[in-house]
Structures are given as C-alpha cells and as structure tokens.
C-alpha cells in the first residue's frame, strides 16, 4: 500500500496552469525523486501535498485517507513532514529548541500530548526524542548552539532533524543538498538511506542528479507542470523526453553563448 498517492492533480494560478494532471505514488521506505527544470512546478506540487495550496483537480490520498480537505497543520499531525528550499528555522533559538519544536505535531495530535506543552523542554520524554534525533542526524555537538551561529550547510540538517523528530510517515525534502560541502553531501546520503530504512516514505526534490541517481528507487520527472516520466533513474536517463526537457534547460543556459559564437 502506498504512503502517498496523487491522482490527476492540477493547480491553476489565475490563468496559468502550474500543474497539469500529475499522478505519482510513494511507498513506505521508498525514496522518490522529483526532478525537472526550474519552474517545472516541483515546489508547487510539494505545497499542494502539504496543504498550503489547494488543488483544483484530482485527489491526494495519504495512507487510506483523502486529505484534500485538511489544512496544513492537520496533515502535519497525521505524519507529513517537510523541509524548505530556503531554510525556515528560528534563528535566535538553539538547535535543540528548534528540533523540539518539531514535536508539536505529536503534542497536538493526541490528548495526552497536550500536557507536554507546559513541561520544560528538558523533560525526559521530550529530551529522549530530541537527543535521539540529534544523534541520528549528527548534530549532538551543536545542540546548544543558536542556529544563527551555524554555517548554512548544517542548518539544512537542523531542518531535517526538526522534520523527522516526531516520526513522520512521509518526508518531503526540498533541495536539501543546496550549498552542502562534499562531506555534507555524503552525510545527507547516509541520512536519507537511514530514514528510508526506518520505513518512512520520502520525496526528494533535487537538482543534484548524481545524488538522485544514488538515493532514489524511482524518479518522477515533470516539466512545465506536466508529467514527463516515472521510472528508475537509469530508465529516466535513457528516456528521450527527459533528455529533451533537460537539454532544453541546458540550451537556455548556454544558448546565448552559442548564438554569440555562431
């Protein structure tokens, strides 16, 4: 059974159709790559999944449930977590505090979670979850540091920690490798595999195609709001439509130079 299933999803912004009949699915423990040129609609799709944007057509099923009517915080409480393209952390708070905030979905999702609101952040149950996650992600050494003093690369990891601390069943990663050093990229790869091993489904938006090839069981390629291809990374590379989409993008980038020469 899939963790997430999109069927025929469309989204309009005024006259512009940003998403056109998109279908995809992810299973527990699977890593699905979501790739495509800039402006293809990847972030829009993520926002539709998390509930920030309302879809105009199609269905979104999470587990067994149609989640279309649910507002973003409800979807989060049911186990959908995400990171953001531009990291959204509370700069003045410590890594520990930021990660602890991620437990909110657990505190609010059942009755015996509420009293935890008034417990100190150092309470046993909170500390256990946070410290466990900090270890998994590799942030124990900076637990007490404010996010403001952290280098940008590590902030991505803080966001991931915040996203997974409550044990989501679906994790949406929006370009997590941006600005990472070589060793940080490796660390990210290991982390993603680790999260998948725990049974969490993941959707990975990335421009770093080498990483995508390594980590993703399947990829979905979209271009200008349309679904182009879904299959293994290897198959995607061979698929003409995909090559065209990316070649088109490359043309756009280097096209000016070619014209100058020609």
């Amino acid at each position: 059974m899939s963790a997430l299933e999109l069927s025929g999803v469309s989204k309009r912004f005024g006259g512009l159709k940003a998403l056109n009949d998109i279908s995809l699915s992810v299973s527990p423990g699977e890593v699905l790559g979501l790739i495509g040129p800039n402006g293809a609609g990847k972030s829009t799709l993520v926002s539709c999944i998390t509930g920030v944007l309302r879809i105009d057509d199609g269905t979104i099923r999470f587990g067994k449930r149609d989640i279309q009517g649910l507002p973003p915080h409800q979807r989060a409480r049911r186990g959908i977590a995400r990171t953001f393209q531009k990291v959204r952390l509370a700069d003045q708070l410590t890594v520990y505090e930021n990660v602890a905030a991620g437990l909110a979905s657990r505190w609010f999702s059942h009755a015996n979670g509420w009293p935890l609101l008034f417990r100190p952040l150092s309470a046993a149950s909170i500390a256990a979850a946070v410290n466990r996650t900090l270890e998994q992600v590799g942030l124990v050494d900076v637990a007490a540091t404010t996010v403001r003093s952290l280098p940008f690369g590590r902030r991505h990891f803080v966001e991931i920690a915040r996203a997974i601390v409550a044990g989501p069943s679906l994790l949406l990663l929006d370009e997590p490798a941006t600005g990472l050093t070589e060793s940080e990229r490796e660390h990210l790869a290991v982390l993603v595999k680790d999260i998948a091993a725990g049974g969490c489904a993941q959707i990975l938006i990335e421009h770093d195609l080498e990483l995508v090839g390594r980590l993703c069981h399947r990829v979905t390629v979209i271009n200008q709001g349309h679904h182009v291809f879904t299959g293994t990374p290897a198959a995607a590379q061979a698929e003409p439509e995909v090559v065209r989409a990316y070649l088109g993008m490359n043309q756009l980038i280097s096209g000016g130079a070619d014209d100058a020469r020609g």
């Binding site: 972030s43 920030v52 944007l53 953001f84």
Partner: protein, 286 residues
C-alpha cells in the same frame, strides 16, 4: 437637508483626506505609521491661530506649513530614521514624539480650548436652500486644491516617481541611485505640511485645543484602511467615504457616535477584508 449633509461631509472629507494622504504617503515610503501626524495637525492649527493677526489668514496658513515643514524634518531624524528595520520601535517613537508635542503645545498655548477667529467665519453664502459659511467653503476648495496638487506631484513629477519607487522597494530604489533618506524626509515634510493645512483650514470651524490631534488621526486611520496603505488615490476616496458617512450619521443617528461609526466601519472592513479593501502586493513565497 441633503445639501447641508453634502457640504458638511465635504468639509470633513477634505480635512480627513489631507491628514490621511500625508499618513499614507509617509507609510508608503517609510513603512512606518506616523503616530505624531495628528499632533502635526494640532500644531498647524495653533501656529496659524497665532499668526493670523500678523500675517492675515493666507499668510497664517503659509506660516503653519513652514513651521510644520521643520517639524517634519525633526520627526524624520528623531522618530523614523533611527528605527528603520525595527518598525515597532519607530511606531512607539512617534507615539513618544506625539505626547511631547502635546505638552509643548500646552506649555505655549495653555490647555483651554480657543476659538480660532477668522473674518470668514462670519459671512455665509447661500446656494439655494443651503447656507455655507465662507470658511467652510474655503476648507473644501483649498483641500481639493492641495489634494489635486499632491496627486499631480505623485503622478507626474520626478519627485513623485521617487516616492513611488521607494514605496515599492527600498533596495531597488537605492540601487537606482535614489537617496532614500532624502525621499523619506521629503515625504514626512510634505505630510506634515498637509497636516498643517488641515489644521489651519478646519481650526476655525471648531475650537482648537492641544488635545485635538487625537480624533484627527483616528479618522485618518479609518480612511487609510478603506483606501489602502500607501495608496494615495484610494486614501482620498476612503476619506470621502468616511466624511460622508459621518455627516449622514451625525444627522440620522447622533453626533456623539460619529467617531464610533468610523471605527465600526474600520473594524468591519478588516473583519471581511483582512488585507484591507485595496490589497497590497503579496510577496510571500513558500
């Protein structure tokens, strides 16, 4: 009756528009609400009141605008420029300035309300069944002229272009070579001068007291919510609406409730239109 309501409404609208447009202009350029604007009206009224015996009415208005221009420069330096980026503090600083101004006015002119006498108060002109004192007529005409002048300034002059550029985006404007500090100062100067004219023109209609700035400002806020922050045209229309509604309300409901009407309208507007009637550009990107 209808004519009388119309005239009263126009007098109110005119003065509200003068104050509100000054506020909206300042807000557009500085992104901060000027809580001292109401007191600028009050100072303008008192300066004009003091100057009339020496300079005549027209001269008094000019004197009020001159004093307020200086006031605008002072305000920009003390209450706005130091707080760019920390808008809440700027807001509170203008609050602090406003109470300083009230006290200064009390010290100079005392706390008792004074009647602002001009020759025009005595004479009336009759349009059919509607009688209007010349003073009120001057209010309406002068407000309209000043607002027209400001509208022309914003739409067609290079200064107006700079105002609009800075309102859009500080950084882009600075990158285009615009001196944002100078533009901010000018916005505040012009806003204060307009407030001065509002005070000098409507002062003779009612008594003037150092406390009068409060209600001036509140009505201006209502106009801005209706018309849109930073939107000069909308604010003028908002002021027109508020003035008319208050004029009608004063006759059919009660005079005491007239400010309540503005505020009820303001609150109701925000209930149904959280982004104001005239939404600003949304620049939130997920």
């Amino acid at each position: 009756m209808f004519g009388q309501i119309l005239v009263n409404g126009l007098v109110l609208s005119g003065s509200y528009a003068l104050v509100a447009v000054g506020l909206t202009l300042t807000f557009g350029v500085m992104r901060m609400v000027n809580f001292a604007e109401g007191q600028s009206v009050m100072i303008g009224a008192f300066v004009a009141y003091t100057a009339v015996p020496y300079l005549g009415y027209v001269g008094a208005i000019a004197a009020a605008m001159a004093v307020n221009a200086v006031l605008g420069v002072i305000l920009e330096r003390t209450a706005f420029r130091p707080f760019r980026g920390v808008e809440l503090n700027g807001l509170i600083a203008s609050m602090g300035m406003s109470i300083v101004l009230v006290n200064v006015a009390e010290l100079v002119w005392g706390t008792t309300p004074r009647p602002f006498e001009t020759v025009y108060n005595e004479t009336s002109i009759n349009f059919g069944t509607v009688g209007i004192s010349v003073q009120r007529l001057i209010c309406v005409v002068a407000s309209a002229a000043i607002l027209l002048g400001l509208w022309w300034l914003v739409q067609y002059t290079s200064l107006g272009r700079k105002f609009r550029a800075v309102s859009e985006d500080h950084e882009t404007a600075a990158a285009m070579g615009i001196d944002v500090n100078q533009v901010s100062r000018l916005a505040l100067v012009i806003g204060s001068m307009m407030a001065a004219s509002a005070g000098a023109l409507t002062g003779p209609v009612n008594m003037i007291t150092p406390d009068m700035g409060r209600t001036e400002m509140l009505n201006a806020f209502a106009a801005i919510i209706l018309g849109g922050f930073g939107n000069v045209n909308g604010t003028i229309l908002g002021a027109l609406l508020i003035g008319m509604i208050q004029s009608i309300g004063a006759v059919y409901i009660s005079n005491a409730y007239s400010t309540s009407i503005s505020f009820a309208l303001l609150v109701l507007t925000l209930v149904f239109f959280p982004r104001g009637l005239v939404p600003e550009r949304v620049d939130e990107n997920v």
